[in-house]
């Protein structure tokens, strides 16, 4: 249930950014979530609904962009199907995870700045 502490950190960061730019409201938030980020998307949403009460995010729309886990061979670029052994036999190389696969990012904030 670390989704709650993640959302707490997220809202705190957003409020800090809003204050430094003298925003009066936050209209939207965009978050990137990789399949291997270790975050349950539904719990994340629920935690957001709970935590935003009384914050600048009270009416904010949360957009979550999901990225599937993708493993590729660093030598030949071959991609691995779900459940494959994560090693490229022809190249003798262990697979590498693409950066978005475990993304847990605050991408953008739509702020109302008077």
């Amino acid at each position: 249930m670390h989704e709650y502490s993640l959302v707490e950190a997220l809202i705190r960061r957003v409020e800090e950014e809003a204050r430094s730019r003298r925003a009066v409201a936050i209209h939207g938030l965009k978050v990137s979530l990789g399949e291997l980020a270790g975050v349950d998307p539904e719990l994340f949403q629920t935690a957001f609904e709970t935590f935003r009460q009384g914050t600048l995010c009270e009416r904010t729309a949360l957009e979550v962009v999901h990225y599937p886990a993708r493993w590729v061979c660093p030598r030949c670029g071959k991609t691995f199907a779900r459940g494959d052994i994560l090693r490229c036999e022809p190249c003798g190389a262990p697979a590498q995870l693409t950066p978005q696969s475990d993304a847990l990012l605050l991408d953008a904030i739509d702020m109302e700045i008077p």
Partner: protein, 300 residues
Amino acid sequence: MCTTCGCGDPELVPVELHEKILAGNDRIAAHNREHFREAGVLALNIMGSPGSGKTALLEASARVLGGVRLGAVSADLATDNDAQRLSRAGIPSKAITTGQACHLDAELVHRSLHDFPWRELDVFFIENVGNLVCPAIYDLGQEANVVALSVTEGEDKPLKYPVMFQKADLVLVTKVDLVPHLDFDLPRLEDNLRRVMPDPKVLRVSARTGEGMQAWKAWLEARRAPVVAGRSKEARPHEHAHAHPHEHTHEHAHAHGATTHSHPHAHQHAHAHEHHGAEERHQHGGGDHGHEGSGHDHEH
């Protein structure tokens, strides 16, 4: 025109950040790592399900690692049972009471260093909360992640908890003395690990019989060598530089409850660095407001 709240015609400004949500934790973890490396201490994050045998593994390690100075902090929801068990086994240790939290974070680990003689250690074990999910995504400043998976948990765990195993530098298959009583299929476990880890390292151990403990010891020593070498390199005197302890203040931002604050933080570090005067005092970070509770000025 804003459709969310009907506020008329606000100036909507899109602010692009592309910032890690755990950036705050990662900063403190980097700071912890700097402490460990500069002191030449191998810090290990020991994770696994509740009851997978993490504490028993450390107790058994004390028996085979004579001459290596071990220490531990142990996350416990409410008690300090694990820390007491470790102390009885001869490992100086301390409980980190996590309350409801399902994982350790870098700030909890940093705070645990305050009145603990971690600098005197060769290996510093951080026994995480028993949980195969949440601890995986929090960097603590460790050199390596060790995941204990007991043979009673089943071979399918890597497929069900890929994030934890993907982060593991070493998987210890624990309680292997029980294998004759179970239908546990070790080759199948290893096959499953290869589907979530590109280059799995696996050792089978038993805290009860001592099986595999020599291989675990060899792994520890191999991981410790670069940490010790890195330290001697860092401390090597340069022509116009010499190692001396100095104080610096830096800010740690961290969260307690719903508020953010940062506080200045005094440390004694022994660094090698260039200087011209006899004494030099560095001030990083401004004086912010203080921190309630126990004083945060510390030497470690």
